[in-house]
Amino acid sequence: MKSGGAPRRLEGLAFVAPFLLLYGVVLIWPLLMGIGISFHRADLFGAREWIGLGNYATALADPVVHQAIGNTLLLALLIVPPLTALALLLALALNRATRGAAVFRGIFFSSSVLSVTIVTLIWRFILTPDAGLLAVAADALGREPLPFLSDQALVIPAIAITTIWWSLGFPIMLFLAGLQQVPADVYEAAALDRAGRWTTFRHITLPAIRRTLLLVVMLQTVGQLQLFGQAQLLTGGGPGGGSRTIVLAIFEVAFGRWELGYATALAEILFAMILVVTLLQYWLVTRREDAG
């Protein structure tokens, strides 16, 4: 066999080089620069002063940051599991070749096409206590309308529901693609093996879409830990910071208070959080795969 080790590798490198370069310039370099800036007291106008871990120390003691981290984790927890479960259920229901299923697939995917601005407009319409859809419904039932967007206890669930509605389409598509990988005759074999609905799901479907499940959970976690638009546009982080997320806090620090150094430090903390959570998820799933 002809072996062209080194030249072949160079050839391969030449093909990926343009992308690597772009990747380096717009992603890796800013990331490293960000880490550098986070060790400074810096503003948007170029003033820099080295303060070491000062920004990180401030963040650890900052009650606003604590609240934002709490809100963000709570939101992720309220969004990712129900969103995943709901998307899987809908995908299971829509995984058939009928015309009706195709129509519903389109409907569920359509919300994902909307921009966050439209989504928040729609949900503001539904949620506002004075004339919103829910308020009208509550009125008709003779109940007091709930102040979804101005009550500390209700605002997080309200944002979570908005986000679930908005984000449902893509995971459904991923699950449908995963489900279509399972050959029909395997289900037929299961039917002949007296497997009921639950047994079939548990022992045939679930193992087959395990990778897709992991992908959906990881993508959603990464996405929802960076939740920003809905909070900013629905509530502006209020009331009393009750819906301020980490990215919203970063935004306020950077573009409200012009404290670039502190903002990048917060961004690095978020980056680390995301890394830890997703790696943990990956490890949890793949570890069980190796064992079983």
Binding site: P183, D185, V186, E188, A189, A190, A191, L192, D193, R194, A195, G196, T199, H203, I204, P207, A208
Partner: protein
């Protein structure tokens, strides 16, 4: 008592009728092969028996119990799928245990059955492997094993050997033949391959055009095909059907005249055949031989020579354009383009009436 009985089963997909009033009885421990061209409804019939497809009408009985309304798992049948349909995430052992567990078979019993089946199929060493780590032949055995451990009353196999290479197919065929001695159940297999059907089956069911064309032992179907379709479909190379007319006469047996003028005396009883009626003269290659001009019935030109080693098939074209296949010895010297004489063995010839109905040489005499 019949093991399986189908009564007037019919099925359509939308406007297309796929099975038209199919009835069949399968005896206990019998091995039946469904043979037919692609699209003739073999798989559909098998799946109706398994409960994976519902018939539009008709009844399915298994050992005295009507099963057509039962879910697949409750019918007492096991199926081996063409592409095996093993559960990819389970080990071989789990694959075999799955159905038994769902049926509530006690654990020690499950283990015993799996051990037994694994021993018979020689897959003991693979029990902890997953299907993805196995070869096609091994997966095939696992699929068979998964069916055996259920101890069904009826095995259904859809083209079980079609995914194996030629050598493995022959070996597995022998193993299937041995296997059926060990199991106390009837067995139905679908196949495209008539050699497979002829060697394995007690009886063959030839399907075409939505209907059962003929049911019979392999020899029966080969020697006395019920109609022109079966005659052409079973046997390789296919039987030649030469247009002919019945000659008037008072003999016990029919004499026919071929379109080219040659006359052939058959041993097909005359009665029932109308003088001058158009028929087809059916000739298997082994009943047409090469002969010197003076002993020949017909003259023809060789257009193709197929050498199989032990014998040679000679495809010859008659003056009127009809193609006829003759069989010659393995060392035959004929070549394409040669002019040869063909001798027809009228004693073995078949006649097919205009509607296709077959008539055969009188076996009694």
């Amino acid at each position: 008592m019949a093991s399986l009985a189908l009564k007037d089963v019919h099925k359509s997909y939308g406007d297309t009728l796929v099975l038209d009033r199919v009835s069949l009885e399968v005896a206990a421990r019998e091995l039946i092969a469904f043979l037919g061209p692609s699209g003739s409804g073999k798989s559909t019939l098998l799946r109706i028996i398994a409960g994976l497809e519902t018939a539009d009408g008709g009844e399915v009985w298994l050992e005295g119990r009507r099963i057509d309304a039962l879910p697949p798992g409750d019918r007492g049948v096991a199926m081996v799928f063409q592409h095996y349909a093993l559960y990819p995430h389970m080990t071989v052992r789990e694959n075999m245990a799955f159905g038994l567990r769902n049926a509530g078979v006690p654990k020690p019993e499950i283990d015993a059955r799996i051990a037994q089946a694994a021993h018979v199929l020689e897959i003991e060493a693979q029990l902890e492997k997953k299907p993805g780590q196995m070869s096609g032949g091994q997966r095939q055995r696992v699929a068979i094993g998964r069916a055996i451990v259920k101890q069904p009353k009826l095995f259904l196999l859809d083209e079980p050997l079609s995914n194996l290479d030629a050598a493995l197919r022959t070996r597995t065929r022998v193993e299937l033949a041995q296997l059926r001695q060990r199991v106390d159940a009837a067995l139905i297999m679908v196949t495209h391959d008539q050699a497979e059907a002829m060697t394995l089956a007690d009886r063959m069911v030839v399907l075409n055009e939505r209907r059962i064309q003929q049911v019979g032992t392999p020899m029966d179907i080969y020697a006395r095909p019920a109609n022109a379709f079966v005659a052409r479909f079973v046997g390789s190379p296919a039987m030649t059907l030469a247009p002919a007319t019945v000659m008037p006469g008072n003999d016990r047996f029919a004499r026919v005249r071929l379109a080219g003028g040659a006359e052939v005396m058959t041993r097909v009883p005359r009665n029932g055949l109308v003088d001058g009626a158009p028929v087809s003269l059916g000739l298997r290659p082994e009943h047409v031989s090469l002969a010197p001009a003076e002993a020949a019935t017909l003259q023809a030109e060789v257009i193709l020579v197929e050498r199989l080693g032990d014998r040679t098939f000679v495809y010859a074209c008659l003056a009127d354009g009809l193609e006829m296949i003759a069989q010659d010895i393995g060392s035959s010297a004929v070549r394409v383009g040669d002019r040869v004489g063909l001798r027809i063995d009228g004693d073995a010839a078949h006649l097919f009436e205009a509607d296709g109905t077959g008539r055969h040489a009188d076996a009694a005499t």
